[in-house]
Amino acid sequence: MARVSFTSNLRRHVDCPVVEAKGQTVREVLNSVFESNDRLRTYILDDQAALRKHMTILVDGKRVSDLAGLSDPVLPKSEVYVLQALSGG
């Protein structure tokens, strides 16, 4: 199973420790995570189930390219990082 990590900024709003999740695409992995943490869904995805505008996801160090469909492949031992862009204010 892939290992999925979230930032401390996101964990401030929703309890989301590192978790192992099944799936062959980013979408499948995220859906697997949301099965046990539904509240997390709207913090990462927008109303159209696309990645939020200022969020990004890295799979094995590479930024995903399909921001709306989240079809990028995930391997059984992949490391997935869910990140927000850093901005001040």
Partner: protein, 367 residues
């Protein structure tokens, strides 16, 4: 009279209370987070707070009467955008069907407990019948062909910022849109009609100045005891209606008719307050002096109220939800972009400074 005010700011929600020594900040919630608007529902004492987490989107929280803790509830969400739909706004830009700001929160009528209305950017109107646990989009308004004429004003995208549920019938509600005019329903949201006739947008082609669909009302209020009468602080001036918002006429005020907020007395529709800025391209007080203007004769004359307000090098702007009046119409509160909060206990004749050091204030509401 109300002794408590909810102040929504860029870095938290603050409660201002009246004590023996006057008004002061007593509590802070969501410290560090962007709180954009609140609603205190007088029917059941529930508080609602809208947050904008930026990266993580818009969220809504609820606090039951008498409780100190908040609970996250469902945020109004747009339906799936039909595949292949070329949905463009009035500027010709694609509309993103996602809640990008909660810009209006209002309680339903007295005869419909638990009903809450919510206006959003990019222009969706929502209603909850269970205190925000679930929401329905008012898709009859969203699917009006004229919605594609709506456009962003100061913001990039259009939004609903004012909702007036008619005190005579909960099935009648009016919403004001920047920029999309004023819309009314008399059947609980099934059908809608444009009703911004008479407003003028004087900064474009003259032949289009009166087009109701592209008017930019900044804020709209309805008098509770004289519900035929409305006030609008518009991008291009002040407008009033005395015929149930069927038509609007312009009113001139000094030192300026430009601004964002407006409040109307709940018992006397001829009495209303505004906070003027210089104009569109200079959104600061005239001559660096913060003032409130008040009419008591339906806009024929205005008095400039400044006692207790900073009169030198004040560059405070009062956003559209930054001016509020309490239930009996005696007390006013306002909060500014530079973190100032003031309260008046005499209908604006004089003001007490509560603080100068809050984060930028988006909204004030008596609770």
């Amino acid at each position: 009279m109300s002794n408590s005010i909810l102040v929504s700011t860029r870095k938290g929600l603050f409660t201002v209370k009246r004590g023996r020594g006057g008004w002061s900040v007593s509590d802070g919630d969501f410290i560090g987070d962007n709180v954009t608007l609140t609603l205190h529902d007088l029917r059941d004492g529930t508080d609602y707070a809208a947050l904008n987490h930026g990266h993580f989107g818009i969220k809504l929280h609820r606090r039951d009467k008498g409780r100190k803790t908040w609970k996250e509830i469902t945020t109004p969400a747009y339906p799936a955008k039909p595949e292949g739909l070329n949905d463009l706004d009035g500027w010709g830009k694609p509309v993103n069907w996602t809640t990008q700001l909660i810009w209006a929160l209002e309680a339903g009528g007295r005869d419909e407990p638990g009903v809450i209305w919510c206006g959003t950017m990019p222009g969706g109107l929502f209603r909850s019948r269970d205190r925000g646990t679930t929401w329905e989009m008012i898709d009859t308004l969203w699917h009006m062909p004229d919605r594609n004429k709506w456009l962003g004003g100061g913001a990039d995208i259009p939004g609903i910022h004012s909702i007036c549920v008619d005190p005579r019938s909960s099935k009648t509600a009016r919403v004001a849109i920047s920029c999309g005019g004023v819309w009314v329903t008399h059947d609980g949201g099934t059908t809608w009609a444009q009703t911004a006739h008479g407003m003028k947008f004087d900064q474009g082609p003259p032949e289009q100045a009166g087009d109701p669909h592209t008017q930019d009302p900044h804020m709209m209020v309805q008098c509770k005891s004289e519900p035929d009468k409305f006030w609008v602080q518009h991008h291009c001036g002040i407008f009033k209606s005395v015929d149930n918002a069927k038509s609007w006429t312009e009113v001139k005020a000094k030192p300026s008719s430009f601004g964002f907020g407006v409040a109307v007395h709940p018992e006397d529709a001829d009495t209303a307050w505004f906070v003027p800025g210089i104009k569109d391209e200079k959104r600061i007080p005239v001559d660096g002096a913060l003032v409130v203007t008040r009419t008591r004769d339906g806009g024929k004359t205005f008095k400039c109220l400044k006692k207790g307000l900073p009169q030198k090098h004040a560059y405070d702007l009062i956003f559209r939800h930054g001016l509020a009046i309490d239930g009996p119409g005696e007390r006013l509160a306002m909060g500014s972009t530079t973190g100032g909060v003031w309260v008046s206990e005499d209908q604006g004749d004089s003001w007490q400074s509560v603080t100068h050091s809050l984060p930028p204030v988006y909204a004030v509401r008596f609770a």
